[in-house]
Symmetry: C2
DNA sequence: TCGCGAGATTTGTCAGGACATTCTGACCTG
DNA sequence: CAGGTCAGAATGTCCTGACAAATCTCGCGA
């Protein structure tokens, strides 16, 4: 059963046509106009209906396949994925995640200063050992409860960060606003027991389980732009990751 | 400085040309023939050199950009990324990961039997509540130490699994061997304290921090093929995830 | 009735061309 | 000397056209 979806195209818009198509198909899926399992029209028919060429339609569909919303099979067709697969993980910060889920994040800046780096951090950031980098320590709250202690190291000169900025917005948002284009992040996720200091900050008992995350983020050019070492209260937070095999 | 790389094409091979090109560029990067930061020839020149069309070259390059090996910038060119970005995460099981890092995994099967599902599991697997599914419980060792307790639920009829199979190989490998094509996995990673039973199995104290993972894996068609609830000894294991923004 | 093969359907791969957009760097101007 | 402007170079988008490969369906024959 091929669903009949209406797609408006604006050829005068700077938004690429394939992207307009992809967005509107995705929206139809979110709205429920395209139910899981339903088949899309075939590429040639779709192209014909919209007055576009097949490569453009293919590009739109490929984009959605990469995001995990659609499945293609040769000789069969293109179908909407069953099950509510969540959006693929993006390079977002905890702050963005919390705000999106309506949890009213708040931040207390505990430290914000240039500081000479340890050898280990220098290695991951790719700077000279002993050079100064911006050290940042924050306590993050959600819904009034302490949620995480965040430690970050950033190369100097990337962005002018003030404590006021950091209390109102997330680090990633600020970096993006400063023109930093983050592209790849490597995360190591583990767990351990809280030590005394952490327990006090997070309002937990010593020994309480914490989720830990080490993350290094690289930009466009593969230069490290941020390294973070964070601990989360396991009782209040968990991470979600979606993997898509191509 | 545009590196001079030799690429052989086999037009009689069933392997797509774009893939042949991509593989050989990736190999040149791994070998070090293409050093980080070096620019590739532009697309038109490359296409000309190899006797291919520009779309084919673009497809090859796009493939490597998606894998995080190359970076493209309009008006500038295509460069090899700086820094050693790890391979993107794949749909592998703990067993594969361990064997790849040479840790000699071993498995003890604690349970393997059809069992009626709870309402919750039925919902994530997309089967009727109360229907029978294959229940699987395993204790995984690495280097002689207990490492994780693995619980899995699988729809019946996917594969004929025996305890002997499961002791010698990983679940994912067995499923793949049975023709199951896994494509998307959704993971939720958290942490909590070990209870008495877990502590005993894993040779830890009660209350020791454990890394927890809930995973649901879907196939080609978006049908759930596996749901797992696993706990790992945080002192011995952590998860690594690489994110690439497109 | 059941199995198998031919044909139809659909996506996968590849070619070649055209124009738009963006970035860099050199040049010109005040 | 500083700043803006413009040309060149590279990727981004979009088009048309063609054939290959995988899959499903239906009809035919045993």
């Amino acid at each position: 059963m091929t669903a009949n979806l209406a797609i408006d195209l604006d050829r005068s818009s700077p938004v690429p046509l394939y992207f307009q198509v992809a967005e509107q198909i995705a929206e139809a899926i979110r709205r429920g106009d395209l139910v899981p399992g339903s088949r899309l029209d075939n590429e040639i028919l779709l192209a014909d209906k919209l007055g576009l060429s097949r490569p453009t339609i293919r590009q739109a569909i490929q984009y959605l396949v990469d995001k995990g919303l659609l499945v293609r099979k040769r000789g069969v067709g293109t179908q909407v994925v069953h099950g509510q697969v969540k959006r693929s993980v993006e390079l977002t910060s905890l702050y963005d995640d919390l705000r999106r889920s309506g949890q009213e994040p708040a931040t207390q800046v505990l430290a914000l200063e240039p500081r000479p780096v340890s050898e280990e951090i220098a290695a991951v950031l790719g700077v000279e050992p002993g050079a100064e980098v911006l050290y940042l320590e924050r306590l993050r709250f959600a819904a009034g409860e302490p949620l995480a202690v965040l430690h970050n190291w950033l190369p100097l000169g990337l962005a002018q960060l003030t404590a006021a900025d950091l209390e109102g917005r997330g680090l990633y948002e600020l970096l993006r606003g400063a023109g930093v284009r983050m592209r790849v992040a490597n995360q190591r996720i583990g767990a351990r027991a809280a030590n005394q200091a952490e327990a006090k900050l997070l309002d937990e008992r010593r020994g309480a389980p914490l989720l830990t995350m080490l993350r290094t983020t690289y930009d466009d050019q593969g230069r490290a732009v941020e390294h973070g070492s964070h601990v989360y209260r396991a009782s209040l937070y968990s991470l979600e990751v979606t993997l898509i095999e191509r």
